[in-house]
């Protein structure tokens, strides 16, 4: 008994000394720097580059670039609730493969590394850390989801790594201080504004709103309300729902009670068909305005017969399921390449085509870069003027010193529930456009 307790007390003493000593050591090693200010220790080592890299904590201009390859990374939802949106990777890969087969960019082939983050910002940050510091990619491309993009932005801005053509229209991403992040989507605020203008043009006197209770919803409603109020149209009822909540019935009932002339549905995912079906079932027949993200092929297939009829939404690229483009040359090339390089993908899915468009824009940006380094490519991305053949006629991808938002015009379209197709409409009158015609709507207060 005695021996045992002596042993154990000696053991405790020894451990105490060790653990305390080591903990103290670690504290000393890290403690005095617990609240460092903004550090700008080792700025750019390359004196030839201009202002863009002046604030870089580290800057490796040609990481991931060799004489015959350029390594590009992406992190998106291969799995999880937004796996459909993650199918853009098939389009990206197909376009990149076809460019590589034609010799690549000045002899350099693009090597695309795809990582799955399941729409989780933490995983996205881990993936980007791994892609930049371990895989040594030259740039990131086509990252998906506002929170995921914001989660990796501090590191990328600090180390001056381009994050090209991110998949989000959040207004916060097109602010001038985010030099190294380039957005691909038209901003949600632009969409909200042009939808409001349509409602005004069609003579709506009252408008109600149902939106997802987050920044996504707020970006739409903010722009919509401002435009309506400026025109003297009343916003009568505003409701929100939580992302991921199973039912939106009570909100739809409130809106139907109110019975406004028009309703904005600022929703995402399966909430879209739920809301539209609810409105249809209530017997209320407002002019429906929805987000572009509500009109993917998969979501529309969940609508009850007759639901969502006449709903106005916007588009900026040629939807592959739209019969209007059945004989389109650009889409024929796209379908052929998909069959060859990504046979597992559904060519009729809008997101896959969006990925192809991403590839087109990326290659154009890389080709127009004066120097094949990070600052050179970012300069090219910030001064782009691209008319890709899968964008709707008249829509161009343009950036410039005062233009951070590359897409500032969209085409409005009306959903025809009977045929499950879209008809392009005139943004000024709300009337259907003759077949084959396009008339773009442009926002006034762009994010830049």
């Amino acid at each position: 008994m005695n021996t045992q307790s002596r042993t154990s007390s000696r053991r405790i003493r020894r451990t105490t000394t060790l653990v305390a000593g080591l903990a103290g050591l670690a504290l000393v090693a890290s403690g005095c720097s617990m609240r460092g200010g903004s550090s700008d220790t080792t700025a750019s080592t390359d004196s030839a580059v201009g202002d863009a890299t002046a604030d870089c904590v580290t800057y490796d201009p040609t990481a991931g670039v060799t004489d015959d390859s350029i390594k590009i990374g992406t992190t998106l939802s291969v799995t999880g609730s937004l796996a459909t949106a993650g199918t853009i990777r098939y389009g990206m890969q197909a376009y990149i493969d076809s460019v590589n087969d034609e010799g690549g960019i000045d002899g350099r082939k693009i090597d695309l590394v795809v990582r799955d983050d399941g729409y989780d910002p933490t995983k996205a940050a881990t993936n980007v850390n791994e892609l930049v510091n371990n895989e040594k990619v030259f740039a990131l491309f086509g990252q998906l989801g506002t929170a995921n993009i914001l989660a990796v932005q501090p590191d990328l801005e600090e180390n001056c790594v381009p994050n090209l053509l991110v998949q989000s229209g959040a207004p916060v991403l097109v602010e001038p201080d985010n030099y190294w992040t380039l957005s691909q989507y038209p901003s949600y605020a632009l969409e909200g504004e042009v939808l409001a203008k349509t409602a005004i043009a069609q003579g709506a006197k009252t408008v109600s709103i149902i939106s997802q209770n987050d920044d996504f919803g707020k970006a739409y409603t903010g722009a919509l309300i401002k435009t309506l109020e400026d025109a003297g149209v009343e916003v009568t009822k505003q409701t929100t729902y939580e992302a991921g909540s199973p039912s939106v019935d009570s909100q739809v009932t409130q809106l139907a009670d109110d019975g406004a002339d028009a309703v904005l549905v600022a929703a995402l995912g399966t909430a879209c068909p739920q809301i539209l079906n609810g409105i249809h079932a209530s017997g209320w027949e407002p002019q429906i305005l929805t987000t572009a993200l509500c009109t993917s092929k998969g979501l529309l297939s969940l609508l009850d017969p007759g639901a969502g009829d006449g709903g106005i939404s916007s588009a900026f690229y040629k939807s592959p399921s739209d019969p209007r483009w059945a004989d389109d040359e650009a889409l024929a090339t796209y379908r052929a390449a998909l069959t060859k390089y990504a046979p597992e993908a559904d060519p009729n899915e809008d997101y896959v085509l969006d990925g192809w468009l991403e590839g087109q824009l990326l290659v154009d940006i890389l080709k127009s870069a004066k120097t094949m380094d990070r600052a050179g490519v970012m300069e090219s991305a910030r001064n782009a003027n691209i008319s890709a053949d899968t964008l709707l006629p008249g829509i161009e991808f343009q950036t410039g010193p005062d233009k951070y938002e590359p897409l500032t015009s969209v085409q409005l379209r009306r959903f025809d529930a009977a045929t499950k197709t879209f008809v392009f409409v005139d943004p000024e009158t709300g009337e259907d456009l003759p077949a084959g015609e396009v008339k773009l709507a442009t926002g006034s207060a762009t994010g830049s």
Partner: protein, 334 residues
């Protein structure tokens, strides 16, 4: 008798030497790996700290909590908001985060006086499920799904350590301090009382253990440690949102998995468990994202078949010994 004591003593010496080796390795890591690996290891330490919190509750009293992702979140948002909205030093913010976690834990722990086992697990499940909605509701302050950007631990120019090393060592310091606290608690009177409570409450109360005070106390301490992990998470990664999986139910599952896989050893258990849940899914996902969950699950089942008490419960030296029936108390070799 002396034989047995000698054997127990040498085994303890072995454990002691093992822990010392782990500590030395942990301190050396940031000086021998590239920045990417160091930040990855820092993330593992954060998860390990959260698991140490859970281990205090589950390992000692046998209660299961599925709500620890919420405590992680309380800590993360408390520290994140303090970092962004006040000029207080990071160290103090982390301590406030720890305290907030402890208070929340004590309140949530109250039902554990009457509700036990599966029923308690379900109550904590509600907490885990409600937390992300709470954050979305308060999006004006928390940033909701779009998230909150937080100033990270960044060394001043001229400081001998790089940012990733400083962040790693800050987390390591917290891990070692907490491990030391748990180590001494384990050997104290309170520790024995807690264990007794977990084994047989009636017997423990008969011997004078104050059941209610201990139950609420251990819940609070457990929550506080996990909240500290949350706080360290935001000051090392610089971002938190209601979509961050660690503050959703997925986080709770991750902590529980790490606890079960790692085993009950105070330091090695959470570290091994956290390393596996952090690294394995990522590695598998790089080869095939679609099959990742399936393969990950299969590997977990395999680990538990081989090591039912967790990896830290394995005794490799016993594998090479003949069965105990032939030789009752063999002295383990070095």
């Amino acid at each position: 008798m002396p034989e047995l004591i000698k054997s127990a003593k040498s085994r303890r010496n072995l454990t002691w030497a093992g822990n010392a080796a782990i500590v030395v390795l942990l301190i050396l890591i940031p000086f021998f790996f590239e920045p990417f690996r160091v930040s990855q290891f820092a993330q593992i330490l954060v998860i390990a700290l959260a698991v140490m919190g859970l281990n205090l509750l589950t390992g000692f009293t046998g209660q299961v909590s599925v709500g620890h992702s919420a405590f992680f979140g309380f800590g993360a948002y408390t520290v994140g908001l303090l970092q962004e909205r006040t000029a207080l030093p990071t160290g103090l913010n982390l301590l406030i985060g720890l305290a907030v976690g402890g208070i929340t834990g004590a309140i949530i722990g109250l039902p554990s006086l009457r509700i036990k086992g599966t029923h308690l697990a379900i109550i904590t499940l509600v907490l885990a499920a409600a937390f992300p909605s709470l954050i979305s509701m308060l999006s004006e302050y928390t940033g909701g799904t779009q998230g909150l950007r937080v100033e990270r631990i960044t060394p001043d120019p001229g400081f001998p350590l790089a940012a990733d090393q400083a962040r790693y060592l800050a987390v390591l310091a917290a891990v070692l301090i907490i491990a030391a606290c748990v180590f001494f608690l384990d050997r104290s009177r309170t520790g024995r009382a807690l264990r007794a409570l977990g084994d047989n409450e009636t017997a423990a109360v008969t011997f004078g253990v104050r059941s209610s005070r201990l139950r609420v106390g251990v819940f609070a301490a457990s929550a506080a440690i996990t909240a500290l992990a949350g706080g360290l998470f935001v000051v090392t990664t610089g971002f938190i949102s209601s979509g961050t999986s660690l503050v959703t139910i997925v986080g709770s599952v991750e902590f529980l998995t790490a606890l079960v896989i790692g085993g009950r050893a105070i330091l090695a258990g959470p570290l091994l468990g956290a390393a596996i849940v952090e690294l394995l899914p990522n590695q598998v996902s790089q080869t095939s994202p679609e099959l990742a969950h399936l393969v990950y699950g299969a590997i977990l089942i395999f680990i538990l078949l081989v090591a039912p008490n967790g990896i830290s419960g394995l005794h490799p030296s016993r594998w090479f010994r003949r069965p105990n029936t032939e030789k009752p108390s063999p002295a383990p070799s070095a």
